[in-house]
Symmetry: C2
Subunit: 305 residues, 2 copies
């Protein structure tokens, strides 16, 4: 298999100006793997409780996502309850019940220990480290996401795993928090000293920006008129990025740029409906068309005076 993701599978209760839904399918590994499944074969490693509805498993199966690494434990599934107000940029967490996720200790099944592409979604950096240690061969590319909680409380652990990865995919606030630099170019220079050769900064409605030694690429976000639920946008973005790289079997600069465009396309679909409702039923034509619309949005000639 080519792409493995380790992260959370959750039940989300989400309220936005466009509706309110209880215990819908969520979690970083969920949005990631559904998005990535259009590009390559994906396996996920996560844990759910015995309250996890069978119907949700069907959704993963429909997208042919490998579930061998999905543990089922006695207890409640990780449950996040949150809402968004009119600007939709900031999630307001109302409640977090870790449930079985609290004691999550990912054990990678033997036949999943040789992924070519590995995504360590946002979990405790010590667990991210333990996952990487379980690989029987070093993947071609290891990417990692994290969040403010770990940066604030486990920075040394985070630095340990950051030293082992290739690609860091985080948001703007996290890049600033890790480095203490408000200027992104300076933040990137500091992050480069911590290990990652490539940094992708997610900027929500402003798109994404990628840094590598001597290169910078800025991708727009598609201006959407209806955003029903931003939950999972960053994970579906990462799923599109990693899925595209795995599909192309390449990690050069031009492939990384394309990966960001397809990641952005997946994120733009993700926010058009709650949970994974929109991204579970896409066609390759729709994805190509969406990627093309990014091209029309951002392309210009290099005319000179």
């Amino acid at each position: 298999m080519s792409l493995l993701v380790v992260g959370s599978v959750a039940l989300d209760s989400v309220e936005t100006p466009f509706g309110k839904h209880e215990r819908i399918l969520g979690g970083s590994a969920t949005h990631f793997s559904v998005a990535a499944s259009y590009f390559t074969s994906v396996n996920l490693v996560a844990v759910v409780g015995n309250d996890f509805p069978d119907g949700h498993l069907e959704l993963f199966k429909k997208r042919q996502i490998g579930l061998e690494g999905l543990e089922k434990q006695t207890g409640p599934t990780f449950h996040w309850k949150g809402k968004y107000e009119y600007d939709l940029n900031q999630a307001i967490t109302l409640q977090t019940q870790l449930g079985v996720f609290e004691s999550f200790d990912p054990k990678i099944p033997a036949n999943l220990k040789q992924p070519e592409y590995l995504f360590l979604a946002n979990i405790d950096p010590r667990l991210q480290y333990k996952v990487l240690q379980q690989m029987s061969t070093r993947p071609k590319l290891v990417a990692l996401d994290t969040m403010n909680f770990w940066i604030q409380n486990s920075l040394e652990d985070l630095k340990q795993i950051m030293a082992k990865i290739d690609l860091l995919i985080i948001n703007e606030g996290e890049a600033r928090q890790i480095t203490g630099e408000s200027n992104l170019m300076k933040a990137w220079r500091k992050i480069a000293t911590l290990g990652p050769k490539t940094l992708i900064v997610k900027r929500g409605e402003y798109g994404a920006i990628m840094f590598q030694d001597g290169h910078v690429f800025s991708a727009p976000a598609l201006p959407l008129e209806e955003i029903k639920d931003p939950t999972g946008a960053g994970d579906s973005f990462a799923g599109g990025v990693m899925g595209y790289l795995a599909r192309l079997q390449a990690t050069d600069w031009n492939t990384l740029k394309q990966a960001i465009i397809f990641g952005s396309a997946m994120a733009s679909f993700n926010v058009e409906d709650f949970s994974c409702q929109r991204i579970v039923n896409l066609s390759l034509e729709e994805i190509n068309e969406r990627a093309q619309s990014f091209y029309h949005l951002a392309s210009f000639e290099s005319d000179l005076l």
Copy 2:
């Protein structure tokens, strides 16, 4: 002549983490006209007091900016005192002394009444209206900037002049404030009903986005490691945009896209030093090279799956 700007010429006292400068040359018409002067011939209409240093006039003359419309009145020149803290995105106004600007009533000299391109920089919308009325022929393109103060206090006056213009160049907060829409696509649809056929939204470190019927273009900002003083970035952007349009004598979609790139290039130079120090001494080669760097930053192929 081809391009006329009506706005402010000011003395700014500015403090940023990179230095502190007293009574340096500032004002919307200043940054605009210096930036535009690399593309076309520019005339400015503004007012200064009898404390305005002759040395500053030399700077305008060096850039061959027409000063026939620069009134000199008895009293102090408009003086803005402000500072920026580490994130540099938000100006903190410490003091505003309107001086002779308070009674500014722009009178356009007879031989400046037929510009092909007219920029109404941020002043009282009633004055913007009076300027347009003084034109002996309708310019090919009229563009306008404004600010939160007029949106809050003179919205009806602002709507009167907006109904007469072609291109609105404002920042994101202003677009939201005028329309009451946080979603930019929705904001654009409302603005389109008020008159402008084209909207350019300035997004600071996130670049700019342009809307026209059926078209959207998103341009990045260049990630800069040293931003010494953001004052005038928006005006030098507008100067580059309008100067480029006047130079090309065209306002089609592709020319507008290029204009945004050259406007962004001028803004990126502007912030590299205080006042107009950086943008007063550029070569065409430097400007072309900067525009090229935007191309490298944002270009990608339109590959399909």
